[in-house]
């Protein structure tokens, strides 16, 4: 068969909604795109542990502390499944992590913003996990099998996080005046970065067309962003909080919200490394990686020695 035939079979599987599995033939570019996207997603989960982890030791009640610990732990689990999904495409977890630490690979820019008051933990669950779900629900039907299956589990947990985040926002917004102002401050700072999570406008998005054709992605950035705004604005109203967008208004004709212009200069600035915490996030991950090297080496050396002792029980007992 010529590669043209392979490609035709591949595309027809995609068109028929048959999942592509690790051993199936796939175009190189499809494989590369997936590795890039899945590993970026994995990196985002892992870096995303940092802004929320920042409040674990200051969680104001035992119940909240347990919820937050469990949430950040879930994100570590998401990172693990996603790295495993990337490994089914022939990538190596350690290489991927290297790419993150050297700045070669990107992660979601949202995690380059700081968590400054306790309501940020609610706002992240509500808005960031919320935007992530809006983005990712379509990935449960993405064409690559292992990725789709990982996303089913991840989305379930993300929607749990989203509800817990909103519940925290309710406690704050309906609490004391100070608590309400923390909630408003958090919304002010997280709203626009959350809208930026959907990426550039469709017209400027470089990867979108091919990704749609391959059904890696199934809806456009702008479509998803609009869905998110439509769902989230009434939730903010219920909390009695003000969305920091003077141009936000209901468009009767469209049956959707119109909203203001996103500051793309800020977006690109953060992508390029100039967000408030880009440097600190990568430094924290690098420190964990470097400080942990001797621990990983010890575990490996122990496993090897154990295997050797198992293979040559006499030699080991003689040596002892």
């Amino acid at each position: 068969m010529t590669s043209l035939n392979f490609e035709a079979i591949f595309q027809s599987k995609i068109d028929d909604e048959v999942k592509i599995e690790p051993k199936d033939w796939m175009p190189d570019a499809y494989r590369k795109t997936l590795i890039r996207q899945i590993s970026q997603h994995a990196h985002s989960e892992i870096v995303g542990m940092l802004p929320e982890g920042n409040w674990i030791t200051r969680a104001p009640s035992l119940r909240r502390k347990l919820i937050l610990l469990a949430k950040v732990q879930d994100e570590a689990g998401h990172g693990l499944y996603l790295y495993s999904a990337a490994e089914t495409l022939g990538a190596d977890r350690d290489d991927l992590v290297q790419q993150l630490l050297t700045g070669k690979a990107k992660y979601s820019s949202i995690f380059n913003y700081p968590t400054l008051n306790w309501a940020d933990i609610g706002a992240i669950g509500w808005l960031v996990d919320g935007a992530a779900i809006t983005n990712q629900v379509m990935l449960t039907r993405t064409s690559y099998g292992p990725y789709a299956r990982a996303m089913v589990r991840i989305c379930k947990e993300e929607s749990f996080h989203q509800r817990q985040g909103y519940e925290l926002m309710m406690a704050m917004a309906f609490g004391s005046p100070e608590q309400k102002s923390m909630a408003q401050d958090a919304l002010n700072r997280w709203w626009w970065p959350a809208l930026m999570m959907f990426g550039p406008h469709d017209a400027e998005s470089t990867h979108s067309d091919q990704a749609l054709k391959w059904k890696i992605k199934r809806k456009s950035n702008d479509e998803l962003r609009q869905n998110f705004v439509d769902v989230t604005v009434p939730q903010a109203e219920y909390l009695g909080l003000t969305v920091p967008d003077p141009d936000l208004c209901w468009n009767e004709e469209r049956g959707r919200y119109d909203f203001g212009k996103i500051n793309w200069d800020e977006f690109w600035n953060v992508v390029k490394g100039n967000g408030p915490c880009n440097r600190q996030r990568i430094q924290a991950r690098t420190k964990a990686y470097e400080d942990g090297a001797w621990v990983r080496e010890a575990a490996m050396a122990h496993a090897e020695k154990k295997e050797q002792r198992r293979m040559q029980p006499e030699a080991a007992s003689k040596a002892a």
Binding site: G53, L69, A76, W118, G175, A284, D291, G292, A298
Partner: protein
């Protein structure tokens, strides 16, 4: 009894807090998940114990009043659990010492004359059994792994050994409850704890200098300098904005 339950609760709370400091910074993702798991278990145990204290005291307090509104001298955790995380060897060795004690303690507490405590112990024992398995396995990995990891583990033992004796050295509260058959006599528990520790030490190819001085006092509210900083961080919101629901 209340003082004793606070001892148990404070140990779990403070050690869980320390482990939570690792979250996002552990040597590998699997360890991040495992350490957070233990933090979750311990914090959950602390919660049940504070709830029980609140019930027994009947002063209308809730679990958070005990965690967030007491000062350092009212905390009854052992000195060991408030020691800083240090490198992974320090965290791990601290955990192993605590788990070895905690496992044997809870096993014995399942026979407590106090029905609530026996039930609590039975429930927690499942979690603690896993903790001990985790920390014992990692003691082996570090001790047997590389020259460097063995040296780091030895350094951690050297630093922390002086805090390893307090847990199983009975204070007055524990002596009295032991007489009433509510908790085990710690002196009788010691051999089993020490046997477990030396079994793991031998396998991990590490040793302990005999006759090192043992610090005590945490269980009676005399702490190291570290606890004040833990509390100032942990209690910040409750202290800055008193009386609110979070």
């Amino acid at each position: 009894m209340i003082k004793y339950l606070l001892q148990l609760a404070d140990n779990a709370l403070i050690l869980g807090h320390r482990l939570g400091e690792w979250c996002g910074h552990a040597p590998e993702m699997e360890l991040d998940i495992a350490l957070t798991n233990i933090a979750l278990d311990l914090t959950g145990q602390a919660r049940s114990l504070y709830q029980r204290v609140a019930e027994l005291e009947g002063l209308g307090k809730d679990e958070d009043d005990y965690a967030y509104l007491r000062d350092a001298w009212e905390f009854r955790n052992a000195l060991l659990v408030e020691q800083p995380n240090g490198d992974f060897a320090h965290t791990l060795f601290r955990q192993f010492v605590f788990d070895a004690y905690n496992y044997h303690l809870h096993q014995a507490l399942t026979h407590s004359k106090d029905e609530w405590l026996a039930g609590f112990a039975a429930k927690s024992l499942k979690e603690i059994t896993y903790h001990l398995r985790f920390s014992s396995e990692w003691m082996l990995r570090l001790g047997d792994g590389t020259e460097l990891s063995n040296a780091k583990l030895k350094a951690a033992i050297e630093d922390l050994w002086g805090y390893s004796g307090e847990l199983a050295t009975p204070n007055d509260v524990e002596k009295e409850l032991a007489q009433q058959g509510i908790i085990p006599d710690l002196n009788l528990l010691k051999p089993a704890i020490e046997a477990k520790m030396s079994e793991v030490f031998v396998a991990a190819n590490v040793g302990v200098a005999a006759g090192m001085f043992m610090h005590i006092g945490g269980k009676d509210g005399r702490h190291s300098e570290h606890l004040g900083f833990i509390l100032s961080e942990m209690q910040f919101l409750q202290r800055a904005y008193p009386g609110l629901e979070w």
